[in-house]
Symmetry: C2
């Protein structure tokens, strides 16, 4: 996996948080929602079912760990998990904490309103929290 690279469009929108066993973990730079993106560090995958069987339990574990992190951050009412990838041709899984009072509720978050970037200190605190709760290597 040494030549793995995150797609540039994901890097434009997100900050690198660290690595779990399988995935690179990114934080979407939108303070309206606690929104992590898991990118399996395997090149050439696009659809979720292309993930080789031997990596699937790791992905599920990391979805669980990311879900717990975003849930704890805002005491989320619901976690949205999705592998869409219509715009970025590299397999990535969104894990988003939702509140019944958030801007997009009860719809999905994609394409809703305008992104609100994090203030630097808040973003750093988020990153530290996610690294610790997901036990990431940074």
């Amino acid at each position: 996996m040494s030549d793995f690279e995150v797609h540039h469009q994901l890097l434009n929108d997100c900050t690198d948080v660290g690595d779990a066993v399988l995935c690179r973990v990114l934080l979407m730079n939108d303070s309206r929602f606690p929104w992590l993106i898991l990118v399996p560090r395997i090149n050439g995958l696009r659809d979720l079912h292309e993930l080789p069987v031997e990596h699937r339990s790791s992905l599920f574990n990391e979805i669980e760990s990311a879900s717990n992190a975003v849930k704890e951050l805002i005491d989320a009412d619901k976690i949205n998990v999705a592998a869409l990838g219509n715009q970025v041709p590299q397999l990535h899984v969104h894990v988003i904490g939702r509140l019944e009072t958030d801007e997009a509720w009860p719809g999905p978050v994609w394409g809703v309103g305008k992104l609100v970037p994090y203030e630097h200190r808040v973003q750093q605190n988020m990153i530290e929290f996610v690294r610790a709760t997901m036990r990431l290597l940074s």
Copy 2:
């Protein structure tokens, strides 16, 4: 699992296709997209990570099998997989075949335009195809 019931909102929008090992498989009644919904036949689940570990490989297998079915139906360019559940409080996983020419591309399908119900014969053909390719019990 004998007292399992699909949430009435899903039954309003979908037709029952049959059962895989873990999930009830539903066909969304919207002919614009080949759109299956997998509902694990376990009561009381809402978020994806609440699915017990011992059922996760079955869910992944069934996502793969549903993905292959919708891909084959329209020679899909992309498969969208998502567990959102903001509106229906029962864990369910959307598996949607997408074309770069479809009405919602490149955005997600939820909330886009107006649903176009299947003609009865087309819907029956879809159901038969999905039952056969996913090897469902009907």
